[in-house]
């Protein structure tokens, strides 16, 4: 069979249309439309979420336990005894270790050993996000440093990058260490890194973070970009600290340090 140049080009043109249009030819019923994405009714939104912790309102062991238990129970955080394998979303350490830059030899009595509640600082400039090779940890528009467990490959770069030790690695299957499982929240699996997520799932349902709810006013949560929010009001009225400000990570978890109030006023005889 012989074919001239013109005939050949025509045939090529027609067949390429045929190939390209193949996707349009579908059986009836194959074009089922899927629905649309939306927010849950009552979802809480902010430009920049932030938290203020009033250290003077945490006095006894029970005050911390109450908050930590609420978080760890809600998120199926395992209780692993081995300190090398420990998983923590919210925990405590003493003042001298928490604010190591502010400590000195002659500190206010009792302050050095005062326990402070710690959690992910949801930094405005998070080093963990910068180092994550899979973007499993990322910054949301509302400032929350979120963790996508489906993407985490367990490389632990984020743990090395975080200057606050806010991240824990699952060296073992966490399931056997969860005493009481919350059926409404997933667990994690061996080989992923986890941390506090500012209860973004609860915010989406119109609820305050579990720790804030359990703290009964000792922890405040709100929009830092809104000058009338509770957090901004608290920051205006009290002396507050953030952890390791020198590093430039810009934490959004603030600590109220009302020593005067603890000591019954600022009188120095």
């Amino acid at each position: 069979m012989s074919m001239d140049r013109r005939g050949f080009l025509k045939l090529i043109g027609l067949s390429s249309i045929g190939i390209g249009a193949g996707w349009m030819i579908r059986k009836p019923g194959e074009f089922l439309e899927a629905g649309s994405v939306s927010d849950l009714p009552g979802a809480l939104e902010a430009k920049q979420w932030g938290m203020v912790i009033d250290t003077s309102k945490f006095k006894t062991e029970a005050d911390y336990k109450k908050v930590i238990n609420a978080c760890h129970k809600a998120h199926n955080v395992p209780a692993i005894e081995n300190p090398n394998h420990e998983i923590k979303w919210i925990w405590t350490d003493d003042f001298a270790h928490t604010f190591s830059e502010a400590k000195h030899q002659y500190m206010t009595e009792g302050l050095k050993d005062k326990m402070v509640l710690l959690l992910c600082n949801h930094c405005k400039n998070p080093p963990c996000v910068r180092v994550c090779p899979t973007k499993a940890t990322f910054k949301r528009k509302d400032g929350i440093v979120q963790q996508d467990m489906h993407r985490c490959i367990g490389c632990r770069f984020c743990m090395t990058a975080c200057p606050y030790g806010a991240r824990s690695f699952n060296y073992t299957n966490p399931r056997p260490y969860i005493k009481e499982t919350n059926p409404e929240y997933p667990t994690r699996m061996i080989g992923v890194v986890e941390k506090c997520i500012f209860c973004e799932g609860r915010l989406a349902r119109g609820l305050m973070p579990a720790c804030v709810e359990a703290s009964q006013g000792a922890m405040l949560f709100g929009d830092l970009s809104d000058t009338n929010s509770v957090v901004r009001e608290a920051l205006r009225r009290h002396y507050t600290l953030v952890r390791k400000p020198k590093l430039g990570t810009e934490p959004v978890v603030f600590y109220i340090l009302d020593l005067g109030r603890d000591k019954g006023g600022g009188e120095y005889a």
Binding site: G29, L32, E33, A34, G35, S36, V37, S38, D39, L40, P41, A43, N76, F138, R140, K141, D142, I144, Q146, D148, M149, H150, T181, P183, E184, Y185, P186, T187, R188, M189, E200, G201, A204, R205
Partner: protein, 132 residues
């Protein structure tokens, strides 16, 4: 052809090996999957409807779950409005499995048949099934 005896024998052995799954399964009756909708929550529904029509769910549920996962986690948008305008929370544990509380007879039924092993359940918690 050189060594034709060996070559032909080799080809025959190769074909027998490759075709092993076919003749191994000849005459075997394997029950076609029949996912069950017999759960307390579904039985109580007046109108037995999933998030989207059955035909859509059958073909697209994996794509849909993947889209849900991405938009819920990455964009924080946790609601889905279906083609009828009804709102659902995007949640495998709290939405899907609340009705389909029979993972064994619903999910596994087809997944085992087609030999796929979705790794949802290493983290997501399976509904507690009552053993009869």
């Amino acid at each position: 052809m050189y060594n034709s005896g060996k070559v032909i024998m080799g080809i025959i052995i190769f074909l027998l090996f490759v075709a092993f799954p076919f003749y191994y399964n000849i005459g075997r009756v394997i029950a076609t999957p029949d996912p069950s909708l017999d759960t307390p929550v579904i039985n109580e529904l007046v109108e037995k409807k999933c998030v989207e029509p059955r035909e859509f769910m059958r073909v697209e549920h994996m794509t849909m779950l993947n889209d849900w996962k991405d938009s819920a986690i990455r964009d924080g948008r946790r609601a889905y409005i279906n083609t009828e305008g009804k709102l659902f929370e995007k949640s495998l544990q709290n939405t899907c499995m609340r009705c389909h509380s029979n993972k064994e007879r619903f999910c596994n039924e087809c997944h085992t048949y087609v030999a796929v092993k979705p790794y949802c359940w290493t983290c997501h918690i399976e509904p507690k099934e009552k053993k009869l």
